[in-house]
Structures are given as C-alpha cells and as structure tokens.
C-alpha cells in the first residue's frame, strides 16, 4: 500500500531541497575548487525550484502520510520564509566563501538539507516528525557554525552550540515521551481531541519540557546563553541564516502545538509571558554594552525572540489565537529580511577573517561606502521599529494582538523595550554617520551577488512597511484552519 501520489506533491519542496542537496554533495568532489561558484549556482536553482514547488503544496492542501504532515496555508507561509532565507543566504555567501577560501559544496548542501528540515517542522502535525525536522536543521547548523575552520572562535561556537543544543534536544525528546505516555499518541490533532480523558499532569510535564526545548532553539531567555558566542563565532552568512530560518521553523512548531493541543494554551501562557519578558530585557540590556556589532545583533535577536513570544502569549491567552499567530508570522517575515541583510553586510565589511566587526570599525562608514551605510541604517531602523519600515508594523501587530488578549502589561513592557532598543541601534548609526574613522580600512567593492541580496531585503523591508496588506492578509489566512 503506497501512499497516494498527492502526498508527494505535499512534500514537493522538501523533495526538491533534498535532491539538490544530494546533487551538490556529489558534484563537490568532481568540480575543482576554483570553480565552486557553479555549486552555489546549482544550489540557488534548487532553492528557487523549491520556492516554485511550494505551489504544489498550495494546490493540494491537506494531510499527508497518514496525518503526520500537513500542507496548509500556515506551512506554506513558513516554507516561503525558510526557503527564501536559504536562497538569500546562499546568494549572499558566494563571495564570502571565495574570500575566506571555504568549500562551497558542503556549505550549500548543508543549507539545503537544513532548509528541508525546517520545511518538515513547518508542516509537521506529529511530534516525532517535527523532532526529526528539528534535528535535521540543528545538526546542519552545528556543522555550519564550525565552518571557518582556522578560526578558534568558530570552533568554540560550534562546540558550545552542539553541547547545549543536544541538551535541549534531550528535553524535547523527554517531553515527547511524557506526552505520549499521557495521551497515547504523538499526533497533535488526536492529542487535542484526547483532551479530558488523558492524564493531565503527565501531559503538562511533557508540554513543559517540549517548551524548554523549543525556547532554546529560538534563543529565548533564560535559555539564551549560547546565542552571543555562537552568533559571533559562526561565519557571518551562517549567522544570517541561523538567526532567521531555524528560528522561524521552531516558532512554527510551537504555534502548531499551541493551535492544536488545547491543554498547551493555558499551560504555556505564563511560561510564554515570563520568557517573553526575560528575553526582551536580557536581549536589550545585554546589547547596550556590546562593542562588537555581531554580538550586538545577537543580543538584539534575543530581544526580538521576546517580541515574537509576546505574540505567542497573546495567542495562548485566548480561544481565538488567530490574531496572535498572524502577528507572529508577519513579525517573522519582517525580522528575517532585516537580520539577513544586516548580517550579510557585516560579513562583507568585516573583511578577510572577519577582523573588522567592532562597532569602532564602522565609524565613518557613510563617507567610505555611503550605499552600505544607508542599507545598514535601513535595517537597524527597521529593527528599532521606525514607522514605514517592516519592523514597525511587525511590532504594531504584536502590540495589537497583546492588547486584544488583554495583556496590557506585556504590551507596555514591549513598548518600553523598543525604547531601550533605540539606544544601541542609533549608537551604530551615529558611529557610521557622525564620527571620523578610527583607523584606515581598505574598501572592498560590493560583489553583485551581495548587492542583489541587499536590494531584495531592503526593498522587502520597505514594501512590507508600506503595503503590508497582502502579507498580513496571507498571515491571517494561514492562522485559521491549523488543525
């Protein structure tokens, strides 16, 4: 009894990503290193085809593989984010790989495989499937973090990430085991139906442990200690991917659980509340004292995880989680565009070996490279939440969702944190525009690949800020019918 053909259409993006990952892997030893650009090009074709293949999942919505996986508007939305991130990360890293003399083959293959894993997480309707997707993306991330082999910091980052990540994985797995023990199923929809006749305490413990595992993956406080070191040590294009794609996928899994399992909402609500507040403060207060731009952006991503968690708390607080889910999805889009662009700029301006990533090194950038300075400022302003940019609307929707769920305090703390955030984002801009360069730094021309990525991310940031209707409309559509 073979699964019906429609099931293959529903996982079409994963099939394309997996196939191209393997293709690149096999071609890597054949193609000489001087021509590794070909491998990046093939991977780009793969990512583009995977984006196109999401059309199939839209044409054949529904459950696949006896309900383990689900192709619906929600999974489509998250697929578009993670595959888009992979496309831009591969495109933006081509020149970086050449400059740092790194192999493109395994790099691109790992990104494609990791993205396939994130796609699985986006559509997983069952915990074990979600777990395997999570591990696909995590293991590939550990390796990618260590990719700058000569740099001790890169190795340290990978080691820390791997050890703590495995620890979080153990929590997640233990949680699945307890949930299975309580409900007798790992299917999220069946778990939702099982409801009353299950053992409530075991279910609660299981869901609590799953929450810990996911909170680690999205870098939320108090599980965020690894984030600054890993984001600083990993190669900057990898950081660009790590801080966006896997985070979106982990949030997707959390939202899927939240929408399906009725017990999760009331149980997770206070945990989400507390973790959101801690993340916002830990991220923003930590970022203020940083002198390294990569570390500062890492702390800012902790804070942004906190903002998204506010949306999750808003979704958990009511019986109508749609507004919260839609806000979280929109935020993920706006955040992914900006973080990708910012980290790729850092990757380029850092120079060989990423030596110039201190904020000091960005002084006077406006005079040396006005276009890059303008781009980075745009991204920082969007992170800050300036109106007409995507980041503002992201915060606005989250704020609204929090108010609709009567979470006044959470909304106030969110607004307060945005103000704290303004300080350190503006500090970088002041350095770029108003201060003299502290030391002479050679200006490298911007490669066209990076220029394309920056055009796309910058245009996307402005577009989502000015005309959010289509994106938020799609997100709202994705938020209903998740079970």
């Amino acid at each position: 009894m073979l699964p019906p053909l429609q099931d293959l259409y529903r996982i079409a993006p994963e099939i394309v990503l997996g196939a191209f990952g393997m293709l690149v892997m096999f071609l890597a030893p054949i193609i000489p290193k001087s021509r590794h650009g070909v491998l990046s090009a093939i991977s780009l074709v793969g990512a583009a085809l995977a984006l196109a293949a999401t059309r199939f999942t839209a044409l054949y919505p529904g459950a696949a593989y006896s309900g383990l996986f689900r192709a619906d508007a929600f999974s489509l939305f998250v697929h578009l984010i993670v595959i888009g991130v992979a496309f831009l990360a591969i495109l933006g890293s081509t020149n970086y790989l050449k400059r740092e003399d790194l192999d493109a083959g395994e790099f691109c293959a790992l990104i494609l495989f990791a993205t396939a894993g994130m796609g699985v997480m986006a559509g997983a309707q069952e915990l074990l499937t979600g777990f395997i997707g999570l591990e696909m993306s995590s293991i590939a991330s550990y390796i990618l973090a260590s990719y700058r082999r000569e740099a001790p910091k890169s190795n340290e980052a990978a080691m820390k990430y791997f050890l703590l990540g495995s620890f979080a994985t153990a929590f997640f797995l233990y949680g699945i085991a307890l949930v299975y023990g309580a409900t007798g199923t790992t299917h999220l929809d069946l778990m939702g139906q099982a409801g009353a006749q299950t053992s409530a305490t075991l279910l609660k413990m299981g869901l609590g442990l799953i929450f810990v595992g996911l909170a680690f993956k999205v870098a939320a406080a108090p599980f965020q200690l690894w984030t600054p070191d890993v984001y600083e040590g990993a190669p900057a294009p990898v950081t660009a991917m790590l801080s966006t794609g896997p985070k979106a996928a982990a949030f997707a899994l959390a939202l899927r659980i939240l929408a399906n399992v009725d017990a999760a909402g009331p149980l997770w609500f206070w945990a989400l509340w507390a973790v959101a507040v801690m993340s916002m403060f830990a991220g923003n207060l930590g970022a203020i004292v940083q002198t390294n731009l990569k570390r500062m952006l890492a702390y800012s991503s902790i804070a942004h995880a906190g903002y998204i968690l506010v949306a999750l708390a808003a979704a958990a607080a009511t019986d109508h989680p749609e507004a919260g889910i839609a806000a979280a999805l929109f935020y993920l889009v706006s955040y992914a565009l900006v973080k990708l662009g910012a980290f790729l700029i850092v990757a380029h301006l850092g120079g060989v070996g990423e030596r110039n990533v201190e904020i000091e090194d960005f002084t006077g950038l406006a005079r040396r490279q006005p276009a890059m300075a303008a781009c980075l400022s745009l991204f920082l302003l969007s992170l800050l939440g300036l109106p007409v940019l995507a980041g503002f609307l992201g915060k606005f929707y989250v704020f609204n969702a929090a108010l609709e769920s009567n979470l006044i305090w959470l909304a106030i703390l969110l607004a307060l944190n945005s103000v704290i955030g303004a300080y350190y984002y503006l500090r970088v801009m002041v350095a770029m525009y108003m201060r003299e360069p502290s030391k002479p730094i050679a200006t490298e021309p911007v490669p066209w690949t990076l220029a394309v990525v920056l055009w796309i991310t910058a245009a996307g940031t402005i577009y989502a800020g000015l005309f959010p209707t289509r994106i938020i409309g799609f997100a709202a559509k994705a938020a209903v019918n998740m079970r």
Binding site: I11, M22, Y65, S66, L68, F113, I132, M136, I139, S146
Partner: protein
Amino acid sequence: MTPQIAVFLVLAAMAVAGAVNLILQRHPIHSALSLIVVMVALAGLYLLQGAEFIAAVQIIVYGGAIMVLFVFVIMLLNAGEEERTNLSRMARYVGVPLGVVFLLEVAYWIGRATSHMAQSSPQAVSTRELSTLLFREYVFPFELTSFLILIAILGALVLARREDSD
C-alpha cells in the same frame, strides 16, 4: 510479588546503578563500560514488556555498534582521567541538587499520574506489527532519518577534512 516485578526490580536497579556509576567514574573508559550495563539492563526491560525486536536492536545497535564507537573514540583521543576544575566543583554543588530536585519532581508527578491510570496490561507488539507501522504509517519520518544520517555523514566529512588542510 510476581516474578515479573522481581525481574523488573533487578533490571531497573542494574540500570540505575550503571547510570550513577557512569557519572561517578572519572576515567572515560570506565564510564563507557558502565554505559554498556545500562544498555543491557534496558534491553532486558524491553524484553520484559514483550518488545523482543526493540530489545534485540538495543543490544545490537547500542550495546554493540555504538559502544564500539565510544571505545574507539576514547582510545583514539587517548582521553585520560578528567580533571576537577572550579567549574566542575560548582557543577557538583549546584548541578547535583538541581538534578535531584528535578528527579523527585518527575517521580512525584509520574507517580501521581499513574496511580489514577487504569491498569493496562502491556500489549506485546510483534515485530511484524512494528515493521508495518514503521513502513506504512511512519514511512515519512523513517525516510527522513536517512537524510538526518546523511547530514551527519556530511558533517563528519567537513570536520575531518580540516585536519589535512592545515
């Protein structure tokens, strides 16, 4: 006390003792050997539940293949006794109490939860049923694990290659 419970208690005690010894031993090879005890005791527990396939796999894969890898790695790295540092002392004074608290909490909640549960007799799942389940209902995650392994292989390749590039 039925014989099942007696066997269970013996195996469970073996598993716990092995696990505790694993942590207490300071030489990695001794820890690895204690891990074998845990694995074998677990296999016995699976057998007691009527899951003979899982028990066999546990012995072959974990007790056999994975333990050989462990021992290989320890020998290759020539890992000596672990050293006590300030941080490991802190881990002892903070980590051990936290671990004990977590253990008691889990034990308490599981005890409370299972006391309300109806006595369900363990259903023996035959190997045939298991394979049907694995290759029909769960074929998607099953195939995905091959990708997971592929990623791990690729990772080993990337990590190993750096040596000869130096």
